[in-house]
């Protein structure tokens, strides 16, 4: 679409000229002065509410004559609400001021005669050309580049930012102005046509620049009108109105998104063409020191420290050289020479879609230190969207979110850049990444799905998969990328919305990932993505939560439940089976209770047994309920006891076993998330044909009614004759408190010689410290038993207090002593 911003500004300038000239020529002795328009007014670039900068040149008029003149011009202008500022100078004074003030000198470069005595203007022009301010071209040029640099740093880049400053930002109108100031001084070119004749810009550049100016000036005029003041920043609140005034119709994107896309695109043109022109002028001034070309390889050279093609015609035969130019840019950290830029821009149709023959060059580019610079140039010149057409979908798209301040294509590149910085900042994690190329590819492609109507992460995952398959990556690597892109928001989302002190939350997340590499990738991508999103998006606060989820998940994957590589798949299969069998065999209402089963329990217990436990658990309604299930296996029995969890339950049960001479060979103790305790004991009765299992429930009831002193009974229970074995091995008992194994429980690991009632005594000690046994594993190896108790204190926290740890260890050692 073409706009008429230039004509619009010229029309407004002409109307303003007419008003001012009429006022001025009404004054009887106006020929004693020369009235000059400076700056934007001089350039005929007026917008509503723009400043009018006037210079009144005179030689002999007295102060009172001048005051008289000003009264008759300025007052009426001010009354008409023009923002006029003026100065009265003699030519000599003007020159003096120009020497002192760089900005005044540039506004003189845009000077335009309005009315009065023309000789004043002519003399000023003549004097200016001769004056040392402009004769020292190198110094003037250096000033321009210095001020550009400062301005860009202060205002940011119009082609990325969500609320860009149309005038002062990088890619804003000021870039065009300063290019033209330099053009006037360096190559005596007064307009774009002359600049083209001087060979500084190409014909394409010229045309594109004009269309960009037409757009930007049109928008600026609208912006001033809408804000009802001189305002050059396109604030979010104005974007909709401007889009409608420009008659932009809704498409896949909203009108304001399309408008911003167009703004970014035009700013990009202004930015690239003006910076290339500045470089070219620097070269023509001989400012750069490298006079001779340096060879890079058989196809490329460095000319004045910029990359050029050795033989331009080679790209016809080998179009992949275009990509190589950018790869050199990334590796060497040098810009493309303007001649290389125009060669590429004139031959864009040669750029081929990414394929396996370009894979290595592209991956080399991604790995290189300055990949960000090269990819940005590829976007600016339209190369990236031809190489990876999917980028067309997200190019120049502003995201209407609170956090995103950059357009998405640049955001993707910045994410890649941030990812590279993580090599140092998160070196511990980074060094564990096995395939770094995947890290860079996901950084670049993670948002590729934005802009469609579907959920961007799933859509993007499929696009990313297709892109890397086309690039010739293996199926495995492509699937990995698909997974990471699809889940790239998961880590942050879970960290902020789920309770990270719940073991279940962490295990579910770990299970979804399945392996450590995926977690490491996701963690680094989350950080890089947030940092690239904007300064507000990555805070210590958010980092702390994300780090907690990352670290806990890593522990589950590396030390915990999912350490064994097969466990994740095994667990997934078990759940599938349960979800299928439970409603079938027990009825639908049981399916609703599956949430209560902890992952470790599901992993370790047979599905058939789980179904039995679920069935039995329905009868447990109060603290006095108990369900006992016995099956025989060879000469020993599997005794499953289900009851509501409470402090001391494990002690009570092991006490009952002890007084009945049931020898515990192993035990697995679980607490379901609904507080049901499921304890599975493997026991050996003291004599064959033991059948008095009912006694267990009876004694349990007596104990809960306080009618049976279990402590006293265990103490008087002596081993039956012939069952006491002599110690074969001499081994000292050991008690270790382990806080590193789990983020949710303290593990008390006890290894001790077996004796009757030993588990009862240990459990009593643990209770005496007000610790809750949440899970336990007991196994017998000959005459030694190994026990691991998963405990938390009454507040649900791990035991962190060192003195308490010491006391616990001592107390357990005391009862282990024979």
């Amino acid at each position: 679409m073409s706009y008429n911003g230039i004509t619009l500004a010229e029309d407004l300038t002409r109307q303003t000229d007419e008003i001012i000239i009429r006022l001025f020529e009404n004054h009887p002795s106006f020929q004693d002065w020369g009235l000059i328009a400076l700056g934007g007014y001089g350039r005929k670039e007026l917008c509503p509410f723009s400043d009018l900068d006037l210079l009144l040149l005179t030689q002999k008029a007295t102060q009172s004559q001048t005051e008289n003149l000003l009264r008759s011009i300025m007052y009426p202008l001010w009354d008409k609400k023009f923002n006029v500022s003026y100065s009265v100078r003699k030519i000599k004074e003007a020159l003096n001021d120009a020497r002192k003030d760089f900005f005044f000198s540039t506004s003189l470069l845009d000077a335009r005669f309005l009315c009065g005595d023309y000789r004043f203007f002519k003399d000023l022009q003549k004097a200016l050309i001769k004056d040392r301010v402009f004769r020292n071209k190198k110094k003037f040029f250096a000033n321009i580049t210095l001020h550009n640099k400062k301005r860009h740093a202060a205002f940011g880049d119009v082609s990325y930012i969500q609320e860009p400053d149309l005038k002062e930002g990088k890619g804003g109108l000021r870039d065009f102005h300063s290019m033209m100031w330099a053009a006037k001084i360096v190559c005596k070119a007064n307009d774009l046509s002359e600049l083209e004749s001087a060979g500084i810009i190409s014909h394409t550049d010229h045309k594109e620049l004009l269309s960009a100016l037409n757009f930007l000036l049109k928008v600026r005029a609208l912006l001033h009108t809408i804000s009802a003041r001189k305002n050059d920043r396109i604030y979010l609140e104005y974007q909709d109105t401007i889009a409608h005034s420009l008659h932009i119709k809704e498409g896949v994107l909203t009108p304001s998104e399309l408008f911003m896309r167009e703004s970014h695109h035009n700013a990009l043109i202004l930015k690239s063409v003006s910076s290339a022109a500045i470089t070219a002028m620097a070269h023509s001034l001989g400012i750069d020191k490298n006079k001779t070309n340096k060879r890079i390889d058989s196809h490329f050279e460095l000319k004045s420290d910029q990359i050029i093609f050795s033989k331009n015609h080679e790209i016809d035969k080998d179009p992949d050289l275009i990509l190589k130019a950018f790869a050199h840019m990334a590796t060497l950290g040098k810009p493309l020479h303007p001649s290389a830029r125009s060669l590429i821009r004139d031959n864009l149709s040669l750029v081929r879609i990414a394929c396996s023959s370009t894979r290595d060059v592209f991956l080399q580019l991604l790995r290189a230190k300055e990949a960000q610079e090269a990819l940005t140039a590829m976007i600016e010149m339209g190369v990236l969207e031809r190489f990876i057409p999917e980028f067309k979908g997200i190019k120049g798209r502003t995201q209407f979110g609170v956090y995103h301040t950059l357009t998405i294509d640049l955001h993707s590149i910045l994410t890649l850049h941030e990812m590279k910085s993580l090599e140092k900042e998160e070196s511990e994690t980074f060094s564990q990444i096995k395939d770094k190329e995947l890290l860079y590819l996901t950084a670049l492609l993670h948002d590729i799905g934005k802009g469609g109507k579907e959920k961007h992460s799933s859509h993007g995952a499929d696009l990313a998969y297709k892109i890397v398959i086309r690039l010739g990556l293996s199926e495995d690597r492509a699937e990995f990328i698909r997974f990471i892109v699809k889940k790239h928001l998961a880590l942050a989302q879970i960290a902020l919305t789920r309770d990270l002190s719940e073991e279940r939350v962490i295990i579910e997340f770990a299970q979804m990932l399945g392996d450590t590499q995926k977690l490491l990738h996701l963690y680094l991508l989350t950080i890089a993505d947030s940092k690239a999103t904007g300064p507000g998006a990555w805070t210590d606060w958010k980092a702390a939560l994300i780090r907690e989820l990352f670290r806990k998940t890593l522990n589950i994957l590396q030390k915990g439940l999912l350490k064994e590589p097969g466990n994740a798949t095994h667990l997934a299969k078990k759940w599938q089976e349960l979800l299928h069998r439970v409603p079938d065999e027990l009825g639908k209402k049981f399916a609703g209770r599956l949430w209560a089963l902890p992952q470790i329990y599901v992993l370790l217990i047979d599905s058939a047994d789980i179904i039995t436990h679920l069935k039995l658990s329905v009868k447990i309604r109060s603290l006095s309920d108990i369900e006992i299930h016995v099956t025989q296996e060879g000469d020993h029995f599997i005794l499953t006891i289900i009851a509501m969890d409470r402090p001391g339950l494990f002690a009570t049960l092991t006490g009952i076993m002890a007084i009945n001479h049931l020898d515990i060979l192993s035990a697995k103790i679980f607490t379901w998330l609904d507080n049901t305790a499921v304890d599975v004991f493997e026991v050996m009765p003291a004599w064959k044909g033991f059948t008095e299992w009912n006694k267990i429930a009876d004694q349990f009831n007596l104990i809960s009614l306080d009618k049976l002193d279990i402590d006293g009974r265990v103490l008087v229970t002596k081993p039956l004759q012939g069952t006491q074995r002599t110690m074969i091995r001499k081994k000292h008992p050991s008690v270790i408190i382990n806080n590193e194994r789990s983020d949710f429980f303290t593990l008390i690991e006890i290894s001790a010689p077996h004796r009757i009632g030993i588990l009862f005594h240990i459990a009593k000690v643990i209770n005496s410290f007000c610790l809750n046994i949440h899970r336990a594993f007991v196994s017998r190896d000959g005459d030694f038993c190994d026990n691991v108790f998963y405990v938390v204190d009454e507040l649900g926290e791990k035991i962190e207090d060192e003195s308490q740890k010491t006391q616990i260890i001592k107390a357990i050692h005391d009862i282990l002593a024979p």
């Binding site: 511990e428 902020l496 805070t539 958010k542 702390a544 939560l545 780090r547 670290r551």
Partner: protein, 112 residues
């Protein structure tokens, strides 16, 4: 009028927000804060390196209401933000002298 300040666990924010909304609370201020009370910081060990985590991320909510509504707000936060575990947070209730809406100059209950 009362100002109610609540420190809650971050993952409870959405739930508390919508619960307050459903009892008619329309405005609140949310800040991401860090601190500790009984739930102390802890040491994190990651690949041999130790990280001291002194302050734990929390959300601070500030709600200003007419005095008669204060109890309802407090009850709602208590009910929804509770997990029963350590670190669930605290609620502070502060008497409020004056509220002024900057745009209109309205003051008192009208400005809430």
């Amino acid at each position: 009028m009362k100002k109610i300040e609540a420190i809650i666990k971050p993952f409870k924010l959405d739930e508390v927000k919508s619960a307050l909304h459903s009892i008619g609370i329309k405005g609140m201020t949310i800040t991401e804060v860090k601190g500790f009370g009984r739930q102390r910081g802890h040491k994190e060990i990651y690949r041999g390196a130790e990280y001291e985590v002194d302050f734990i991320p929390k959300i601070k909510m500030e709600i200003v209401v007419e005095s008669s509504l204060a109890d309802a707000v407090v009850d709602t936060i208590m009910k929804v933000a509770k997990t029963g575990k350590i670190g669930d947070g605290k609620i502070f209730i502060i008497p409020l002298e004056q509220v002024i809406r900057i745009r209109t100059g309205e003051s008192g209950v009208d400005a809430i």
